[in-house]
């Protein structure tokens, strides 16, 4: 009896060792996607519907925008989710391995700045006030609300924000501090936005920023801050103000990047992207993001059909409209 067991175990060992040497067969019929966790809910929704409609298999991973581009530039994935535009060093890496890409904006996300419900003074803020709070020079010095604006109370100021790995962090620093990744070190950082929600909802002097969906789901716990936009008005983040462009500059486009070669050669990838563009408006809204207008999606679809490769972002830029992104992309490449 026991000897039999041993025999089984040793056979299993040989089998498993033997399997080590078999070469892996790439499954071509699966559409492989990876990248940002912010874009993930939209892509997940599209993939779910696409799979039901066409029975073509789709997988989506969450390696973060940067991790996604690493795989994308190795040619491992057909589509890469990105919560920020591709960076120059990533463009370079793709170029080195001969990967050409198509850049498609697919929906808006808005960074909402939120405060505690009991905070009755900071209902409106300007970008320079946000900068005063968050810039590296503020570290250890700006600790009270009355240091930001005279007239605000002598309450301790406590900051909560996403960690340095997130695209949200990149965008916030570029838009508010005007220098990518520059921020004071003494704030509570978490990669999980729900932790930030908990932090500010229990802290009268707390302030945080994160994606609109997290504010929408926690409206009973937090208040949003109206931000002064480019025309001088204080605007609260909402579906309407983001769609009409008045909530700026803290609303940002989300992207998917397509492997141009795979779009041409793999009919499944092509079908998936077409499906994505067709349903992006409906599905992005359903999962808590802000869709573009119909005309804008039409323009994006046209841009996709020309198979124009390359990025609109030769340098980091804030607050481009969809039209400007597509035009710049055509002009740059």
């Amino acid at each position: 009896m026991n000897r039999l067991k041993l025999k089984q175990i040793s056979i299993a060992t040989f089998v498993s060792l033997g399997m080590l040497s078999t070469s892996s067969i790439a499954a071509n019929d699966i559409v492989k996607i990876d990248g940002s966790s912010t874009v993930y809910p939209i892509t997940e929704a599209v993939a779910e519907e696409f799979q039901i409609a066409t029975r073509i298999k789709v997988t989506v991973g969450v390696s973060g925008t940067g991790g996604g581009f690493k795989k994308f530039c190795r040619g491992e994935t057909a589509v890469s989710n990105a919560s920020r535009p591709i960076k120059l060093n990533e463009i370079k890496r793709c170029k080195e391995s001969g990967i050409k890409f198509i850049e498609l904006p697919i929906a808006y996300d808005a960074l909402s700045v939120v405060i505690n419900k009991k905070n009755d003074w900071a209902k409106e803020m300007t970008l320079s006030e946000l900068k005063k709070m968050w810039e590296p020079a503020a570290q250890g010095k700006i600790m009270k609300w009355n240091q930001i604006r005279a007239g605000w109370p002598d309450e301790p100021l406590r900051l909560y924000g996403p960690g340095a790995d997130s695209g949200t962090f990149d965008y916030f620093t570029e838009a508010v501090i005007e220098e990518s990744k520059a921020i004071r070190g003494d704030f509570t950082a978490s990669e999980d936005d729900n932790v930030l929600v908990k932090g500010v909802s229990g802290d009268k002097g707390g302030i945080a920023y994160f994606g609109l969906a997290y504010y929408e789901e926690n409206k009973n716990l937090l208040s949003a801050v109206a931000i002064k936009n480019s025309t001088g008005n204080f605007v609260l983040p909402s579906l309407k103000t983001i769609m009409n462009g008045s909530y700026n500059p803290l609303s940002r486009p989300l992207f998917i990047y397509l492997n141009a070669e795979k779009v041409k050669s793999d009919p499944n990838v092509k079908k998936f992207v077409e499906f994505y563009l067709k349903y992006a408006a409906e599905l992005s809204k359903e999962v808590g993001y802000v869709p573009f207008s119909k005309e804008e999606y039409a323009a994006i679809t046209n841009h996709y059909k020309t198979l124009q490769t390359g990025s609109a972002y030769k340098e980091p830029k804030i607050g481009l409209s969809v039209k400007e992104i597509l035009e710049l992309s055509a002009a740059n490449n």
Binding site: A12, T13, M19, E48, Q51, V62, D193, E216, E217, G288
Partner: protein, 314 residues
């Protein structure tokens, strides 16, 4: 004189008595502290577990186990995640157990006690303490890109096998050491070779301890997230890998080893970081299931060890 002696004896007696009471008091204090620690640990675990159960209660139904992930929290399930976890654990089992037992038997029965086996011993013990993310990074370089195995179930299984290997080796050695030397001597006396002694006696009698180590190792592997994310596990996958058993000869196929996958902790992590509360319910339900599986596996280990120990009579 006599009274003096009597007094001295009594004096000594009271001293000794008070000493004994003092030491007994220490005994009680230690037992109390130990009890307090155990109870507070158990209560912590229980509270955490019950919290998850209460939060995840609305999702405890068959649909949750048979549905794929979805953007609608109430329709989402953990089918691809638990199948992924199960298949990865199968690979882990078949890779780690034979290697681990063989290594343990070699180190205890065959290896000469010299600086080299000391070195191996130190290394094995150290490996058990290496953070799991390090194994993930090693596997990413070695299995995924070095051997070209890709981001597959096979890679994940082998990675977790590395993680589990030291536990199995240490458990095997402990179990073997518990076997009295006269069992071996008796076998040698009737002319058994070292191989026969190991196979017919040593391994037989140490099964209980080895199995305990194996199951505890597997229980650790099932909750691992970091190394599995590092090697590229997926988050959304709404189809199952090819079935390992087929209807046509050769009936068994190994295509599933090369499939992409997700596992329970990754699915849970994804849901907990969503903004919608409904997904947090899913995460709680998944967490409760992971804890339940771990408890079941540990319970099974204790039961098996108990049964096997009862059977062995020297």
């Amino acid at each position: 004189m006599v009274n003096d002696k009597k007094a001295e004896i009594e004096n000594n007696l009271t001293r000794i008595r008070s000493l004994i009471t003092k030491h007994k008091r220490h005994d009680h204090i230690f037992a109390g502290v130990g009890m307090f620690i155990i109870i507070s640990l158990t209560i912590t675990l229980l509270v955490l577990f019950l919290d998850l159960v209460f939060d995840g209660y609305p999702r405890f139904n068959l649909d949750f186990l048979t549905n794929f992930p979805s953007r609608r929290a109430t329709a989402a399930g953990i089918l691809s995640a638990w199948v992924g976890s199960a298949l990865v654990l199968i690979v882990t089992f078949f890779a780690a157990v034979p290697l681990g037992i063989a290594a343990g038997v070699y180190l205890e029965e065959y290896a000469k006690k010299n600086w080299f086996s000391d070195l191996i011993e130190i290394n094995v013990t150290n490996l058990a303490g290496v953070p799991s993310i390090i194994y993930g990074l090693l596997a990413l370089g070695l299995f995924v890109y070095g051997f070209g195995l890709g981001q597959t179930i096979l890679t994940a299984g082998l990675t977790l096998a590395l993680l589990m290997l030291p536990i199995v080796i240490v458990a095997t050695r402990e179990a073997i050491r518990a076997i009295p030397i006269h069992i071996r001597e008796a076998a040698y006396a009737v002319g058994a070779t070292k191989w026969q002694v190991s196979l017919h006696h040593v391994i037989q009698y140490s099964y209980g301890g080895i199995l305990t180590g194996v199951i505890i190792g597997m229980a650790r592997a099932i909750g691992e997230t970091a190394p599995v994310i590092t090697i590229g596990a997926l988050t959304f996958i709404a189809f199952l890998p090819p079935s390992p058993v087929g209807l046509e000869p050769p009936f068994i196929n190994f295509e599933w080893l090369e499939a992409g996958f997700t596992v329970l902790p990754i699915q849970m992590f994804n849901w907990i970081s969503r903004p919608q509360m409904a997904f947090h319910v899913n995460a709680a339900a998944t967490g409760a299931i992971i804890i339940l599986l771990t408890l079941l596996m540990n319970g099974l280990a204790i039961k098996i060890r108990y049964n096997i120990r009862k059977k062995i009579k020297w």
